[in-house]
Symmetry: C2
Subunit: 235 residues, 2 copies
């Protein structure tokens, strides 16, 4: 058993990540970050998931940094959240510059302070297309940087676990269902209303993942009908 | 001319870094971070230095993360700031886990949002002995991670400038004097009183650097008499 500090956004992927780490017998602490995201509703989801598993949960106020990471539809309310397929070009407006480096740095410091053995992040293969800080080479460079930032790497370990980095979101839903992860408590919608809008890129991706996995989707979508074609796949 | 986002702690090294970057004709924005450091007095010094050069200055509230980086004499008030030479073993209590990764991550994101060309940090050779996240291999790994976190590295550049990484603090004082840097506005003392204590590791290092450089020290030390021997150098 290892002690692991996991990043829990409150989304589907990190909720299943926590279930996966617990299933492997690890002690898991979870961290969530408020960086001024429009969909702050996900932080409540994170709280619910942490409470479900009775985990130590710290919410990090990073709104000061977040307010300077402007130009993203997720933090700048003057930029609209796009509808449509997740892979579409307009989803680039949802990039928050260097967000994962910031989260990994915070988790790495907290893990060192607690003498934890590793940190964990739920990036998956579907994130790679749009987000550079979700790709395996970035994670490899961060592993090296974190190892070098630690005085005694052989003692604390402090690797970065990213068990889903080559898996699809449908794989994650399949795993979550097998582990009994509380996926219905998780939140994906970038619009952050009372219910999932069903039309933004992350809602589309969530719906598609449950459909592909053949798992009943517990989510209450406002719009359950609109289906977006993937513009990168010929009709 | 490049646009550079520089980390300005308010200490001697980062004050001279700003003078150095401006002297080379760059546009410089500065960032300071409140991570709950005992010597918050340095943030006022950063404000004075930024005002002296009329720079855009953002103060980042990172106290939420800082409160979880416990066990350091700099953030945990139950741990005493040690007296004595900077190189001594007890200075290890002044390590704040992963601090520089956190600062570089924040600066990297803000630089991307502003389409700046690079970020800059004032680590120097004297930091290497104690602080792993000040050493050249760590900085090299962070350069690679930051390059990979950027969608268009060739466009934005976004390197990490650390022009003092192989220089001593005495070199920095010599350079600062040549550039007319406002070193008297900077703050070093880890105890964070109204005046520099003159006895803690950073005060000792500061006094020694001015003495070795043969530059008049503008600092008002409470204790100007005690001289500590370097325990790593045979008498």
């Amino acid at each position: 058993m290892a002690r692991i500090v996991a990043l829990l956004s409150g989304g589907l992927d990190s909720t299943v990540l926590v279930a996966y780490l617990l299933d492997r017998g690890h002690q898991v602490d979870v961290l969530s970050a408020d960086y001024g995201q429009r969909h702050r509703r996900e932080l409540e989801a994170a709280r619910l998931v942490a409470a479900y598993y009775r985990l130590q949960h710290d919410l990090l106020d990073m709104t000061a940094v977040g307010s300077l990471l402007s130009g993203s539809a997720l933090t700048d309310h003057s930029v609209a959240v796009p509808d449509g397929h997740y892979a579409a070009e307009q989803m680039r407006t949802t990039i928050v510059p260097n967000r994962n480096m910031l989260f990994l740095a915070a988790a790495g410091g907290i893990a060192q302070a607690r003498e934890a053995h590793a940190i964990a992040i739920a990036v998956h293969a579907g994130d790679h297309y749009i987000y550079p800080d979700c790709r395996p080479p970035f994670l490899a460079a961060m592993r090296e940087a974190l190892r070098l930032a630690t005085e005694e790497p052989e003692r604390f370990g402090l690797g970065i676990l990213s068990p889903f980095e080559d898996r699809t979101k449908a794989d994650i839903v399949t795993l979550g269902a097998a582990l009994g992860a509380p996926m219905g408590l998780s939140w994906s919608c970038y619009r952050g209303g009372l219910s999932h809008c069903g039309k933004c890129g992350t809602c589309y991706e969530r719906r598609e993942a449950f459909a592909l996995a053949g798992v009943a989707d517990p989510t209450d979508y406002v719009d359950q009908l609109t289906i977006f074609a993937d513009p990168t796949v010929p009709a």
